[in-house]
Structures are given as C-alpha cells and as structure tokens.
Symmetry: D3
Subunit: 336 residues, 6 copies
C-alpha cells in the first residue's frame, strides 16, 4: 500500500491580474484552479509523492483545464468523474497592508456538489492506497457530498487506509454550526490524523481555551481534542494576523501524548490562500517519510511559511526548498 | 415620452487574453460584461440616445462591475435590482479561419433567472419612456423571466411605449421549440418592431422559405412574418459564414409592406459576438431619428458590419463612424 | 437641496505597467483618469452619495474616456463641457523603499485651463445642490480658472450651498506663493470647510508652528487658521514619510472650537496618489451623514489610510470597508 | 499491446508576446515547450490515446516545466531521464503576410543531444506498447542520438511494435545530406509508416518528380518511396505557401498500393509551427482507430489544417473538433 | 563626406495594448516613440548606414526615452537639444477591415515646435555629412520650425550636402494650403530628391492628372513635378486602400528623365503607420549604395510593403530581409 | 585620455513576468540583457560618463538586442565582435520574504566564452581611454577568456589606463578555488582599484578576519588586501541579508591607508541583482569626478542601495537621484 488520495472540489480561481487592482475595475483576471484538497495533492506531488485527486468536473474546457492543472504537477486523476453543469468559481481580491483580501464565492451547483449516491466506487478507488485526505469543506457542499465524505472515510478505515481530516469550517456553506458538528463527528470517528486550529474548534464545537498566549491555548485545545475525539496524531497552525501583508506563524504537533512546537516565522505575505493546505501537505509528507514529530511539525510549518511567498493557491516547492527554511536559513541569499 | 429601455441579463464574459489561445491552456482571461439587451443599450447610448437598462444583479463586486460597465457609456441603471446569488457567466474561445468560436455558458441560477413575481414595477419603470426592447433570451432563463418579459411587453403596449423584440432563440435554454413558440407568440402580440433572421424562424416556427438565395428567402420570410404576426416594422439580418474570420453581411428592412435591402459588406471578423445586437441598436436608433426605411436599414447594416471589427460584445461606435461606412467609404483610410 | 458638486481638472494618468519599471524603459503604460476633485467625486459616489463633476474636456476619445471613468462609478457629468485642445496628462513612476515616486506633468494648454469667461453657468449648475468642493489646484491652472473657482465659490455661498476647499498648493503651477495667497484668500472667504496640512500653510502663508510633534503643530495651525480665516470646520492630515513604501498617518478634525485627533495608522504604501483626496471625501461623506466630529475625523482618516493600499488615484472603497478599518480591525483577515 | 511512444527532444519555445513584434524590440516572451515528437504525443493524448514521451531534460525548473507541459495533457513521462546541462531553446518571430516567420535555434549541447550510450533501456520502455514514433530531427542532434534512434527503431521492430518515421530534414543540423541519408536509410529499414513530403525527399535523396502539379508529383514520390524503401503505409503533406498568413493544404495517403488524396483546405495562418506534427498525429490516431485509408488521410489533413489556427506548437484539438472540419463544416459557426 | 542626417519631431506614440481595443475602453497603452524623420533615421540605421537625428526634446524621462529608442538602433543624437515643455504625443486606434485607423494628435507646444531662432548650428551639424532628409511635417509645426527647415536645406545645399524632401502634407497643421505651398516651394528649391504621391501634390498644389489608372497619373505627376520644381530624382508611392487590413502597393522612381515602376505588392496590413517613411528610407539607402534606378525603386517599394507587416512606426528590417521580398519570394516560408 | 571601457559577457535575462510566479508555471518571461560589466557600463552612462562595452555576441537578433539594450543608454559598442553560436542565458525566480531568489544559468558555449586568441586588439581598443573595468566572472568563462582578461589588464597597465577589478567569484564556473586564485592574482597585479567583500576573499583566498561585526571584519580585510595585493584604492560592500525582501547595506572605502565607512541603508528589495555592479559603477563615477574618499564611498553606497528598488539588473538612476539618497533624504517624498 502506498501513495495518497485526496477527495474534494477544485474550483476556478479568478484574481485581478494587475496587482492591487479591484474586481470592480479589473479587465483581466489571472486564472488558476484550486481547492483545499487539490492543493494538498499538488504539494504532495511536488514533494515527490504519488498522489491521486478524486473529484467531479463538468465535461467542458474548464473542467479539463482544472484536471490539466493537477496533472502538470504529476497528480493523477483517473478516478475523477466528468459531468454535471459547472465548475465552482471564486474571485479573489488580494489585500495589502490594512486592506483585507476578499473572496467572492460562486460555487453553488458545481458538478461535485450535485453528485448522486454511488457515483464513486471507494473500494476500488482506495485499493492499494496508504493515505486518504479529507477536509471539512467537501461535506459542506451538499447532503450527498457529506455522505460521500463519510463513506470515503469509513471505507478507508475498513481497508486500513489512514485517514487525515482538516477541520476546515466555511461558515457560509453550512446552515448552522450544529449541522457541521454532526457530520464532522462522523468523519472524525474514522480519522487518524487531525488538522485544525483553535478558531475552527471554537467555531464548530464552541470550545475555548484559557492560556496566556495562542501557543498555550492551542496546546490545551489539542489535548482536549485528543481526549474527546480519541485521535493520536494532530497538527495545528497558529497565525497572528498583523496585517494583510505581514503574518507571524507557527505550528504545533501532537503524537501519542507528546506535543511539540515549531519555530516561529515572520513572513511578508504574497498570497495567503492555500497556506493551511501547504501545512497539512507538509505534515502528511513527513508522515509518509516516517519522520519524528519534531521534524514533522518543523517541516509542515516551514512549508506553511514558504507558501505565503508564492502567488496562487498551490505550494509548488520541493522538499529541499522547504528544508532550507526548516533549517533556519531565512536570509533570502540568492541560490545560483 | 422619450428614451429607450432594454430589459434582460448582463453576464460576465471571460475570454483567453492571448489571441487564439484556448481556455484549456489560458492563464489570463479578458473580462467584459455583456448580454443581448445590455449590448443594445450601450450601442444606443454611444449613438447619442437616452437609454436605461433593467436587470437584477448580485450584490457583490461583479454585479457592481457589470453595472459600472454600462454606466461608463452613459446607460442609466436606476431601476436595476441588486440581490440573488450570482452573475451569469460565459467563456468564449474566439475562433479563427476554419476553427469556430466556442462558448461555454455558466448562467444557470443567475440573479435575474431567479427573480420572483412583482420585483419589477413596470408601470413605474416605463413611465415617460418611448421604446422598450426585449429579446428571446430573457424569457428562456426561467418561468418567471418569461412571465416578466410578457408583462413588460403588455404593460408597454398599454402605456403606448413601442415594443421591439429580437426573436433570438438559444436552443440550449429551452426544453423544446414549442415552449419557446408559445411564449414568443405572447410577446410578439405586443410587439411593434421585430428583429430576426430566417434561421430563427425556422428554429422556432419551423418555417422555411424557397428562393434562389438568402435575400429572396428572407424577403419571403418577412412577408410571411408580417402576415402571421401582424407586425408592420421588421429588420432581418443575412449572414454568410465564409469562415470564422470572414463574413458577408446584409440586412433587409420592412415597413408597412415596403421591403428594402441594404448594401452587402464583406468583413474580416475580429469578434462576431454582439453583432446582431449592433444591428438591432442601429435600427432602433434610426427609428428614434425617424429616418426613412432605406436609410434605417442601411444604417443598421453598417452598424452590424462595423461591430465585427471591434473586440468585445458591445458596439461603441458613434453615429458618424457608422455613417462613413453606410456612405460607402470602406477604404480604411486613416482618420487624422 | 442634496448631493455634491466638485469642479476641477481630470487628467490622463500614465504609469509604467510593469511594477517598479521606469518611464525610460517602459513600453506599456497603465491608463487612468484622475484629478484632485474628480477623485473626491468618485470616492463620494462609491460611499453612496449623489455626486456631479464639472469640468471641460476635449471632444475626442480621451475626453470621453475620462468622463466614462467617472460615470462608471455613478458620478454624473451632465454640466461638463466638451471642447478645447487637449486633456492634461501626467506620468508617474511609482517609488519604492528609498526611491521616491516621480511625476512628470504635461498639463499646460488643457481644455479646462483654456476656458473663457462665462462657459459655466454656476447658478444653474449649483441649483438644488448641497455641497460644492473646490481645491487649490484648479485656480492655479490659468487666470480664468482662478476666476471661475472664485465665482463658483461665491455663487455657492450666495445660494446657500456649502463650500469646502482643499488648500492644495502645487508650487510649479504658480508664479510665486503670493499670487496663490491672494486667490486662496478670496476662495477661503466663501469657504465653510477647509482641508489642509501644516506644510501647505507654511508654503502659502509662511506660517510655522512650534510644538514637540506634528500633532501639536497641526492643532496650533488649525486654531490659527480658524481665527485668521474665520472657518468653523476643518480637517487636516498628518503624514510621516518613513519611505516611499511605509507611511504613518493620522488626521485632526476641528469643529466650532473642538479639536479631535484620529487613531494613527501605519501603512505599507501601494499607491500614495489621491490619498489626500480620499481623506477629504471621507470627511465630506461624514458631513453629509451628519456624524459627530470624532466619527467624522476617524472615518476620514481610515479612508485616507485605506487608499494607500489601492492602485490608482481613486478610492473605490465602500462605507463598510472603511468602517472596518475605523473600528480598528487591521488584521487583514480574509473576508469570505 | 497498446498505446503510443514518441522519442525526441522537447525545447523551450520563446516568442515575442506582443503580436507581430520582433525579437529585437520585444521585452516579453511567451513561453512554451515543444518539439516534433512531443507535439505528436500531445496531439495523440488530446485525441484520447495513451501516449508516453521519452526524452532527457536537465534537472532544473525548465526541464520540469517541459515535462509538466506534457503531463497536463495526459502524456506520461516516466521513462524520461533527468540530467545534462541545458534544455534546447528556440526563438520564433511569427511572420505575417509577406514577412516570413523566423526561427533562431539555440539547441546545441542540450541534455538529449549529450546522452551516452545505454541510458535508455528500449526493451523495457517499449514493452506492451503498440506504436513508436520517431522523426528525422532526433538523429541529427548528435552521433549518440542517431544511434539511439536507430536502436529504438530496431528494438521496436524486434518486439513487434509498429514504427512510424517522419522524414523531417533540418539542413542546419547535418554536416551534409549524405550523412542524413545513411542514417535515415537505417531507420527506414525498420519503419512501418512513413511521413514526408516531396521537399524532404528532394533534400535528402535528391529525388525529383515530374507532374503538372504538386499532387501528381507527390503521388509519384510516394510510389517511388514505396518501391525504394519497401514501405506499405505513407502519408504525405502538400502545402502551397501563398504567404506567411495564407496557406493551401492537402494530404495524400498511401496504403498497400492504394493512394488517396484528401480535400484541400484554404487557411489563414495563426501559427504554422507544429502543423506537420498535427498531421502525423492525426494519421497515427486514425491508424490506432483502424480507420480506412480515405478517412485516415482526411482526418490527418483536417488536423493539419486545424492546427494552423491555434497559437503554439501543439494541436490541442479533440477528435470531435477535427471531425467537424473533416466533414466539411468550415463555416466557423459559433458552437454554443 | 558620409552618413545621413534627418531633422524633425519625434513623438510619444500611445496605442491600446489589446488588439482592436479602442482608446475609450483601453486601460493599457503600448508605448513607442516615432516621427516621420526619426522613422527614416531608424530604418537607415537598421539597413547599415550611419545616421544622425536632430531634434529638440524636453529634459524629462519621456524626452530621454525618445532618444534612447533611437540610440538602441544605432542612430546618433549628439546634436539634439534638450529643453522645452513637452514631448508631442499621439494616440492611435489601429483599424481593421472596414474600420479605419484613427489618430488623435496632441502635439501643440512641443519642445521642437517652440524652438527659438539660432538654437541649431546647421553648419556644424552638417559638416562632413552627405545627406540631409527633411519632410513637410516639421515646417508645419511653427513659424520657427518652417524657418529652421528652410535654413537647414539652404545650408546643406551651400555645403554640398544632398537634400531629400518628403512632401508630406498634414492638413490639420496648416492654416491653409497656400501657406504650405509657399514654404514647400522654398524647401524644394534646395531639394535634390523628392518623395511624394499624387494626393499630396493635389492637396498642396492643386495639381491633378488624367490617366486611366494611378500608375499613369503618378507618372504624369512626376514629369510635371520634375519640370516645375527642376528636380532630377524622385520616388512616389501608390497605394490602393482596399480596407484597413488590405492594401495594394507600388512605387515609381524617376531619375534624370527615366521613369520606372516597381512590382506591385498585395499586403495584409499589421500597422500602416510609418510605411511611407520606410519607402523613403529604402530609397535613400539605395542612393547611398548608388544602385541603379530599377533596383532603387524596387528596394524602396519592397521596404514599403514589408513595413506594413510590422507593429509600430519603424521599419527595423535589414537589407537582406528586404532583398528577399524585392527578389519576389513572398511565400512566407519559415527562415530557420 | 577619457572615458570608461568595460569588458565581459552580456546575457539574456529571463524572469517570470507575473510577480512571484515560478519558472515552472510561468508562461511569460520578462526579457532583459545584463552582465556584471555591462551593468556597470550602463550605470556609468546614466551617470553621464562616456563608456564603451566590449564583448562578443552571436550574429542573430538576440545578440543585436543585447547591444541595442546598451546603446539605448548611450553605451557605445563599436569594438564588440559579432559571431559565435549563442548568447549566454539565465533565468531568475525573484524571491520574496523567506523564499530566496533562484538563478538557473545556461551560459556554457556562449560567443564570448568561445573566443579565440587575438580576436580583440586591446591596444587599439584602449587607446585614449582612461579607465578599464574587469570582473572575476569573465576569466571564469573559459581558458581564453581568462587569458583575454589578463591581457586586457596588462595592456591597460602598460598604456597608463587605470584598471579596476571586481573580485567576483562564481563558484559554479571554476573547477576549484585554486584555479581562480591563480588567475585573480595575475589580474590583481595590474589592478589599481579593487572591489570586493569579505565573502569573496574568504571563498577565493580563504582569508577570514576576526572582529565583532561585519564592519570591523571588512576593515581588517581591506587592510590585509592592501598589504598583500599592494593596492591603494578599494571599495567593499557589506550586506546583511535579513530576508529576500529586506537588506541592510553599507560600504567601506579605502584610499592610501585611509578607510571610511558610509551610512547604512535599510532597504526593501525589489530586485537584488546587479546591486554590486551599481556600487562599483558609483565608485568609478566618483573616481572620474575626483571626489574625496568620503563622498566617493557615500555615493557608491547610495547607488548600491538605490538599485535594490529597481527591477532589472541595471541601475538607470541619474547622479542627482543618487545624491538625494546620499544626502539622507530617504522619505520617499513624491518628486513633482
């Protein structure tokens, strides 16, 4: 058994091409294709892993382009379905300094959200795979997407495929937090590795934690999550939003009761989208490599930080590029 | 009473920015906002008329940008509504030579298609207006859109506002041609000026006409349409598709039993979208000016031809620019 | 009586398209249309106000494009004249870090600067308006422009239209400071609201003020200005130029003897042009809303800061976007 | 046994981004990756076939980007090697009207040209494949490339893999035509399907053929080639260069003594590079589909013509898009 | 004595960057620097000649960029002056098919037009030069420019420097044709080589010539011009404007009573600006090479035709590129 | 004797056009031409000096474009040779924050590296020149380049032309540091002015220096270098790499035993390439002006800092622009 599977929605991402221009006055959009789970697939592929992405996309040039954008990095897509009416779309105005980034979603009615029961044969899809990654976004897309996510997780669990879950909560996609909680509980019951942060736990489970700073609060949160959810492996991000252009970052890893904090990075933000996905991909890569917890959380956090310096949702960096950061060379010295 | 009203959907138009590139491999899209009725509004405004466009658009930057794109040309939008979920979107690959242009529509669920009964107060909207233009696209968007279009036409008729109707048939938007016919009949019963071509009459009404060439067939079609629909004013286009880059064009006008053919234009095609709308706008402008039939159809056809040389859906040309063409100066002599 | 009028010159703004490229080596310019008073008109429109801009522009596509750029945001232009020889033009190299921005003006002989007496009918233009905004740039363009600005101010005063004046001093446009002073005195005598800063007062009136910091100096300046000019409402900006990329900003408001300082903002500069106009527009918006002084100066200063993060001269932000900043959320958190 | 293998060099293609600009004054280049054999691989993949491309590329981002450009279309690259010093590069000025296109090659010392004996294990690479495609360019790159091409052909022949060969002669890459002839003879002795045209036969073998037009000359050439080379399946192109913007095209197919001519296409040229490759790919696709000779040559020629309308070296069209052309619909009617 | 001098104005040329877009809706302009005489200087330099361009430009980055644009091609500028207020500017909408190109000039008040008497030391400038080229545009810019042009011509004549003059008439720059005639007569009295066409002779001198076609009319015109002006060497262009995209071209040369017509070229037009300058430069180059009349007019006309295929005002082609056209290879065959 | 000569390689520089995009996913490259010695030539020319650049470039449009890029700034190139196979090329991914910039070199086999003995006639080239600048890069290109560099230095020394040498060490171009040392020793023996930094001395000569900070270490290094190499004039840079986006800079000058440190600059980095060349050019300019040591090192360091704010390898700033920085105005105040 080897290789990763991720399952979810990949969308058309449109951003004003001219830096710091607004949607209102833009007459050119830069085109990308991205989604939480496909971002992780791309990053894992760029790190040298075998990865497959499973989704459904319309049978038109936009659906084809979305798949092509993944295949170019070596992600395979042979179990992705074609059909349905449209590709989910989102528009980003990338913020700067005190001006926040703004996302306009237009994803209702997407091909994946409109799947029917039985379209994916999970037993076949998961055969001979080692890892399945899921996120909290897919089950929010539609009732069938929620059921499909749960089914994928259960099938994986039954087949001995390790399940990772990013407890990603998009408020606008759920009727209320309760509905999310019910479904997340179900997925988490089949989950081996959990990605989250205190904000998401607060949003979905209304947990809040004392502690003099975010690190302490996060550690408490992870201990609580371990107890409540019965999960032995977790990686949480901590992000201090200084402005749309400056973030301070770290990560905390938890494995079988041990808890370790990574170095902290101060980064100037080029594009903050997909950074959480870069973190998760970095951690999954570390798991695949069977690295110790310290190295795992350090690598994931270095990937997290590195992604902030790249335009677009996907972290295309190599293992070596991240290792340089992980080992503390933040000098920006030219590599010739 | 003065000025024009057009009612319909304006969409986000996305086209690969790099000429002759395909959607599949494009990473930049040129952005426009267009629709049959809004195109006519823009052209009428550029020709010097007072025009208002009525629609519904989502309350987000894309909806705002669509309105801004109209206002810049002087089209007013004060009765347009804001709300709903999304802006209809379409993607164009502009063809060349033997390769046809291709459109991917993603317009289901747009704000206008999802209107409820009573959102538009037609009596108020149409007060003091002289002309209302409608097309066959809007009633195809949803049941309520069909009812709204009929209501707008009836209200206009009752108020003495002249109604023009472009018998525009988008096959993919209708369950079948019968459903279109029923609604079109209803609209046509309130119509004063009809725009169409033999292809649309064939598609919707299954009419076909003998005749040794398209001109003869079209003239027969117009006589038939006048009899059947009881319409005294009509303008039809004739287009010979030589390739995606070369078209031969003319127009035929009908007024109270008189029928006149315009000059024929051979044009190299820059962007063929919105050319029919340029024709209709040209004819409506001529009506507003109370020009004789010959001048009216000549002006409309010159506008039709001129639009083929402009990128984008909208004909931004002035009355003077079209008159030069109408008067036969096709030399392309530099204007200094 | 309602709505704003601004009067002045709108110019063609050309900037090397490729970031940090110089005019010398640039082969593409980004195109905009801007001017102190039209910037304020756009910002007021984006904040939801009725606004009209009055100017004169050549009867060519550039004049048309300048008006279109305003109309797209909802600014009306029906009293703007067409004629004259050219549109004023300026070229900007946007600076970075220690390299300052550089402007090359080419505005002599513009349509507005060459107006003759009597072209604008101020009584008609100002009827039913509530606010007229003027700046120190327009009277510097030509003798007739100075007379026209004074006439506009006087007519407004007579008609009960409130007059705001931005004491904007462009050294290169005046023979000497004395000539500016004479005309400014004349305008100020009809002014209800004054926008300025200590630098402009120093430049024009040779005032300087003791005080351990810029805030104290500015407050003294405002008190002096109130006494000398007899103006009850003022808003001044304070800007610390740390570099072309980093500025520290605040604003001070004065109303009937009360003086209040806003929060201070540290911003990374995307485009520093038009920021003073964003401040004035924010303050005028607050006056229109009849907000208290504290909220007024806070809103104006938040608008001032926000504009630094947008490319181009105009502040297209909404009331809500500025309120978020005003209320202290500078985290740059993504808005989804 | 199924699927295609192509073997050769893929290069970095750089073209001035601004249409009709020259290399001398261009400050932006559009980037592509292309080569005769990789172009065929892409086209075969877009037509729905399993295809693999075998090459050697440097272990840097340019080598990676070249592979990514193939993978995006579904071409697999698992037997391609990484190493060597550089990627071959070429620069194109695309011509227009009477101005010819111009290519500046910079391909000496490329990774593929510098391979050593034994780097490719052809027995392994060709196992379970049905078709191997080679061209006359690869053996021209270096002595080892010539030996490798011959070895690939021989190994394929031994293993029962069908060999196709495009008798592509790049004068500047050979010391003289004799050296090419010796190697081509060797490859042709293992070839099942030959692609060529009369010009290449003239250049390499000094054959010339009487006949009142190019069609007759080409048919004679094919009969001669069949006799001399003992090849039963051939497809030749005929191109009339009217200008850099207008070409007239047809194709002639030969199978077991039968010879059939395709329709003729008049096309406006967008990008003439890679059109011969589109032809060969179309013919190979037809062979894979086991279509009769008439349909095969018609499809190949339609693909040949269609490619002229696309920017870039690769023909990304689908089977359906080419069939429309093949069936004679050259109207350029918009596909909605 | 060797090398060419040209004297005149170089302007900033701005064109919407996106092909077929209008000034009204363009937010990016492509930047060039061009003028009749500087275009000729560039073309002569690209053909391998020593050339100097003399002008006056403002002391700002735009003036510097204009000079840099010439120096890059090897044109020297050491006698060009710096000072004055502005660089002349023009905006082009490039036409297509039946839509003509449109130029908006904004050149009044340019640095060259505002020169004072005595700024140029023609004796020094012309020392050791062989050829001076002038056009009818420069004397139209201002009274002093007219005097300066005449002075340059007279000084050259006195010093034995050959004078060529392009009888270029820009209607909008002159009060009336009489004023042009008076000055042209003066310049022509010092002219050795005259460039013109029948349209210009008609416009300025009200000459018209019978003849069944443009060639015959032009030959009559040249004979008349030779008699009236006493000029022994002339080269005239003939252009048939089929559309903005298609032109038919030829040239006629006259030397000491011999008159020879060139081949005719049918070209698709990429950019028609500067084509007359390319013709004149080609002819001057031929004079420099001391080619016979037939070769001279053939080369000039081939250069004339070639320029139509290049974007921008300047003909950057080499002698060899033009010779290929002159020798009749219009096939557009790729040069590898 | 006057003016500067620099000798070396100029390369094609390709950078992803879209900011922060990677080579892997870029489909547009910005094009420049640069090299250590040509960068210095351009900067010296922009500062108002007479400069010539000597190199060898292929006889194709890329070689021509490289020369044109220098000529536009006024650098002369009359002794540069044309011929050879290719222009050296490099690709840059410009880093940001913690992500370092990355350079992919593809320069082997360039025209200059492949020169033969005797192609350059140094006695002729250097006649009447005052300064010759060389760097450590050229001798690394090939054995003949090393000999040529030494020959140029020796010839200059013999002719009384002052020689400056930038001890620039590109590890990847040398077999080992010993080989570099041998050649550098040879060049230094003819050198009058040395540019370097402690890193280069460490890399080539294995020198390391105690000292509590970089300033102290650098001063020790300079004293040692003066002693060992017998050089009386030196200028060294000090750079603290805080990140790819933030650098802290200073410079140290040494003249006849006096040693002076410049101000320190904190800069946000736009493009870090060519900054050392800007420093050397600034210092050479100061030497040309015969400024005192303090002013010389201050000017050089201000130029060094200023270049960090410009995109591209070359410092196009004027003397006045650098003086403003040198005099301490880092406020970024707009220059109008």
């Amino acid at each position: 058994m080897k290789g990763f599977i991720t399952f979810g929605e990949i969308m058309l991402r449109l951003t004003p091409s001219y830096k710091n221009e607004r949607i209102l006055s833009s007459n050119q959009f830069s085109v990308g294709y991205a989604g939480a789970e496909s971002n992780i697939a791309v990053s894992l592929a760029c790190l040298g892993n075998e990865v497959e992405f499973v989704t459904k996309l319309p049978n038109n040039p936009l659906g084809e382009a979305a798949l092509a954008s993944l295949r170019q990095y070596g992600v395979t897509t042979k179990n992705s379905l074609r059909g349905g009416n449209r590709i989910g779309t989102y528009f980003i105005e990338i913020g700067s300094s005190i001006r926040p980034s703004r996302v306009v979603y237009d994803r209702a009615g997407s091909a994946l959200s409109a799947i029917a029961s039985g379209e994916f044969d999970w037993t076949k899809i998961l055969s001979n795979k080692k890892w399945l990654h899921l996120s909290g976004i897919t089950p929010a897309l539609s009732k069938q997407c929620a059921e499909e996510t749960i089914l994928a997780a259960k099938t994986a669990q039954d087949m001995g495929v390790k399940v990772s879950f990013d407890l990603n909560f998009r408020r606008s996609l759920w009727p209320n937090r309760k509905s999310a909680r019910a479904i997340f509980d179900n997925i988490i019951s089949s989950t081996d590795i959990l990605f989250a942060n205190t904000g998401a736990l607060k949003d979905v489970y209304d947990y809040s934690f004392p502690g003099k700073n975010k690190e302490d609060q996060t550690m408490l949160a992870m201990e609580k999550a371990s107890t409540v959810f019965g999960i032995a492996e977790m990686a949480f991000t901590i992000r201090e939003h200084q402005s749309a252009s400056q973030n301070k970052l770290c990560g905390i890893g938890y494995r079988n009761g041990n808890i370790i904090r990574s170095n902290t990075y101060q980064v100037e933000v080029v594009d903050r989208f997909g950074t959480g996905d870069a973190f998760a991909a970095g951690y999954l890569h570390a798991l695949g490599r069977e690295w110790p917890l310290k190295k795992s959380i350090d690598f994931a956090t270095a990937a997290f930080a590195y992604k902030h310096t790249l335009i677009g949702d996907v972290n295309t960096s190599s293992e070596q590029e991240i290792e340089v950061i992980m080992e503390g060379d933040l000098s920006g010295h030219v590599i010739r």
